[in-house]
């Protein structure tokens, strides 16, 4: 198992390297410039700017220099657009926020999704099953940019229960709407995956055997059906977890949370090369890491994979 993990980690490093180099080049070949604005900048001033941010060097030199900064100093450099901030500052400010609401959304999505999925599989074709399936289809087709304003209309303008935006680490009222907006569609997917996989498992031979042995239903479900039923759910959860904790631009934009999702999208629109690279590397690392975690979990859940 240890060897397996080490092998996977060894592959991760060149993967990241390729990610960095390819994104750096893509970014530079994209049209546009971080310093252009409605007010055209004179060629002399543009030259000063290029010199300050090292854009006057040949591309390969820029990449080598960048890699050295990142690897040796863990320094992603200054933002090209947020003049008084470094990329490290921007990530340090935004990532904890995103991590908080992303993690809460993950917990909510898994708890409700798995619970609802199992219940509706067990009570197949009952009103509860129909409700769960209906709800999850509804939640899946309702994109969060539609849901966010609806939530604000109901909970902020209508009921005056929750603030319509903003963020505080100390006040959970600020967390609720972002978490609902972010988790709902994941919740729906998890419900559907759990339900169908549970139904598959419940029809399989080993469950029939367990029932034939006269085991009580609760034990059959918890001890024999749950683990194999979760395999497809876990493979969904890895990428879902990464995409939740790295945030959502919709949530950040609608609720002014100050999370990293908006920084990522803005950096692409602003051609803020440094922030774009920093966030890409962060996302890439997390994706690789959690894919590894998922693979380890697989091995734990399903002995067939281990052997």
């Amino acid at each position: 198992m240890i060897v397996y993990i080490l092998k996977r980690l060894a592959v991760a490093i060149p993967t990241l390297l390729v990610l960095i180099i390819v994104s750096y080049m893509l970014m530079h070949f994209a049209p546009g410039n971080p310093f252009s604005s409605e007010r055209a900048v004179s060629p002399e001033i543009m030259k000063n700017l290029d010199a300050k941010y090292g854009l006057n060097l040949p591309l390969w030199e820029q990449i080598v220099h960048y890699l050295w900064q990142v690897v040796a100093h863990f320094d992603f450099g200054p933002s090209f657009v947020y003049k008084d901030r470094t990329v490290n500052d921007i990530i340090a400010q935004g990532f904890p926020v995103t991590l908080t609401y992303g993690f809460l959304s993950f917990i909510a999505a898994v708890a409700v999704g798995v619970g609802l999925g199992i219940t509706s599989a067990i009570r197949r074709n009952s009103w509860l099953d129909y409700c769960a399936v209906g709800l999850s289809i509804g939640a899946q087709v309702l994109p969060n940019f539609v849901m966010a304003p609806i939530l604000v209309l109901i909970f902020t303008l209508g009921l005056h229960w929750l603030p319509g935006g903003g963020w505080s680490f100390h006040d959970p009222r600020f967390w609720i709407l972002p978490v609902i907006a972010l988790s709902t569609s994941y919740m729906a997917s998890i419900t559907r995956i759990t339900r169908s996989s549970m139904l598959d498992v419940l029809g399989s031979n080993h469950i029939r055997t367990a029932r034939a042995k006269g085991l009580p239903n609760r034990k059959v479900i918890l001890r024999h059906a749950l683990k194999p039923a979760l395999v497809p759910v876990v493979s969904y959860l890895g990428p879902a977890f990464v995409s939740m904790i790295t945030g959502s631009v919709i949530v950040d934009v609608y609720f002014s949370t100050g999370g990293i999702g908006k920084s990522f999208v803005d950096s692409a629109l602003n051609r803020d090369y440094a922030v774009m690279m920093g966030v890409t590397i962060l996302l890439g690392t997390l994706t690789i890491l959690f894919n590894l975690v998922v693979d380890i979990l697989y091995a734990w859940i399903d002995p067939k994979i281990r052997y």
């Binding site: 252009s36 604005s37 409605e38 004179s42 400010q93 303008l157 920084s263």
Partner: protein, 540 residues
């Protein structure tokens, strides 16, 4: 018991009526102030920097007006109000200004604000090492040696700004500049604390380091979430500052911002396009609209990359005549904007618009003339003029482009729409000059017509259509030394109408919802300047 209740009620009422804070000069006697003296306003987009020497955005400037103080402020009508400059002397050749600074002014760390802080700030903007996009503002001010310093040909110490002593600032210009003092209300010209900037480098604007000389200091700055400023006790006029906290919240979606305003979370938001009439009807004391010094236009590419047809002035005129500005303003925007026939915003200080005949023509007359001009230029049903309209992705630009496409169809012009992502659009316009007709917008840097007219001189970086008119260049050059530059501005505007390098479409207005309890807020200033230090919140 009854008396007691009445008495306590009286006492309560008295307590409530007593002003919670010492009344400032800005607050009329007898005003009942709210206990909570905070003000929260909306930002479309994040502030990119709070360094006065690096800022280039209107929103950043707005915030810097609260944090810093320069030589002059503006009042609601746009007139200059002495801030740190209590008086000034001007040399006979009108090139040397000597400003006498307010002696009691202090930085928020207690240091006095000195003339050297201005010198350092101005040199820092111009310094090529700072690489400020707004170095061009120093060039615009015509400071002596500004061009050479920005281009790295001369050291920053050669810039025409000197501290004669701690409280006397001497500025030398390369040529007399009529609007020089007007330019000093922009944050680019504000002093910066040399010691602090040198100590912390780029980090000096972080809340824990930042030192400012204005009525407010920076408390929190979370990108994408909020910026909080609190009252500065070291500000020289702190006793007249009533609002204790000013917060800005960036919300990209204007509809969401409006919802949060309705929920009471914001005191001021922009009204989304097209909703002003409805909101004015429903909330007459909250919906406001006032002229805002920016102009929206369609620029014609007359340069080497532009289509041959647009090099013909008759075609450019026909296209401009063909645009029905009233429909754009009254049916699409609906926020108090005005049809524009001049590039300079009509409400710019001192601006006298020339006589522009087509501004007064009826719609039918304009159409007739447009068709005739096109025919004269050789275009007609069997040889239609084909053009593309370039704009950056935005639903408002799109609506206008579609409308213009229809107007032009009526005079026999086939226009296609080319919509580009923002940064690509900027490259097409300013770098590659690769377009036929493009949407452009321009906002005044200072309240004077030259801020608009300078854009069209042949050497301007903003002249994306590469229009080159020797007469216009000469008039604009003359205007800088003229006794009455306004006459030159009128002449220049007339040339624009006659040669039509661009078709002005509308003059901006700023339509906002403002909490009626917020008083002292400027609602007329065309530059949209406002100062929280003059504002206060009344009790409900």
């Amino acid at each position: 018991m009854k008396t007691l209740t009445a008495l306590s009620a009286l006492a309560l009422a008295a307590a409530a009526a007593a002003p919670a804070l010492a009344q400032s000069d800005h607050v009329p006697a007898g005003t009942k102030l709210a206990k909570d003296q905070t003000y929260t306003y909306w930002l479309q987009d994040d502030i990119k920097t709070l360094d006065p020497d690096l800022n280039q955005s209107v929103e950043g400037n707005e915030m810097l007006l609260q944090l810093f103080e320069g030589l002059y402020d503006q009042d609601n009508e746009g007139n200059l109000v002495p801030a740190l400059a209590v008086s000034y002397d001007l040399s006979a050749d009108k090139k040397v200004y000597t400003f006498h600074l307010r002696k009691e002014a202090k930085w928020s760390n207690g240091d006095p604000v000195t003339a050297q802080d201005f010198v350092y700030g101005w040199q820092r903007v111009a310094n090529p090492k700072t690489a400020s996009e707004y170095a061009y503002y120093i060039q615009l001010m015509n400071l002596e040696n500004a061009d050479d310093v920005v281009n790295g040909k001369k050291p920053v110490t050669d810039l025409g700004v000197k501290a004669l002593d701690d409280h006397t600032l001497q500025v030398t210009l390369s040529k007399p500049t009529a609007f020089f003092r007007e330019m000093l209300t922009n944050a680019t010209t504000f002093p910066v604390p040399e010691k602090v900037v040198k100590k912390y480098g780029d980090d000096w604007t972080k809340p824990e380091h930042m030192v400012t000389d204005g009525a407010y200091t920076l408390k929190t700055w979370d990108i994408g979430a909020k910026i909080v400023m609190v009252k500065s006790d070291t500000y020289w006029d702190a006793k007249n500052t009533t609002l204790t906290q000013v917060t800005a919240i960036p919300i990209q979606d204007t509809d969401q911002a409006l919802r949060r305003y309705m929920a009471g979370e914001l005191d001021r938001v922009q009204i989304p396009a097209g909703q002003y009439p409805r909101l004015k009807k429903e909330y007459p004391n909250q919906a406001t609209s006032h002229p805002y010094s920016c102009t929206y236009a369609y620029r014609f590419n007359v340069g080497p990359n532009g289509p041959k047809a647009l090099k013909d002035v008759r075609v450019r005129k026909a296209l401009s005549y063909g645009i029905n500005r009233d429909i754009i303003v009254n049916k699409i925007l609906k926020g108090g904007q005005k049809p524009a026939y001049t590039w300079t915003h009509w409400d710019t200080a001192g601006f006298k618009a020339p006589d522009i005949p087509y501004a007064k023509w009826s719609e039918a007359e304009r159409m007739k003339k447009a068709k005739a001009l096109l025919k004269e230029a050789g275009y007609g049903p069997d040889h239609p003029l084909k053009l593309s309209i370039t704009y950056n992705t935005s639903s408002d630009h799109k609506k206008i482009a579609i409308a213009v496409q229809q107007f032009w169809k009526a005079i026999g012009v086939q226009a296609t729409l080319s919509n580009y992502e923002w940064k690509v659009y900027l490259d097409k316009l300013n770098k590659e000059h690769d377009f036929d007709v493009a949407r452009v917008g321009w906002c005044a840097d200072y309240n004077e017509p030259s801020t608009y007219l300078d854009v069209n001189v042949s050497w301007s970086d903003q002249n994306s259509g590469q229009w080159d008119n020797a007469e216009y260049d000469k008039v604009m050059k003359d205007s800088t030394t003229a006794k009455d530059p306004q006459a030159d501005y009128t002449k220049a505007s007339k040339i624009l109408a006659d040669d039509m390098p661009l078709a002005p479409i509308y003059a901006y207005a700023k339509a906002d919802m403002i909490n009626p309890h917020i008083k002292g807020i400027f609602t007329k200033n065309v530059m949209n300047y406002w100062y929280a230090k003059d504002m206060y919140r009344t009790a409900k």
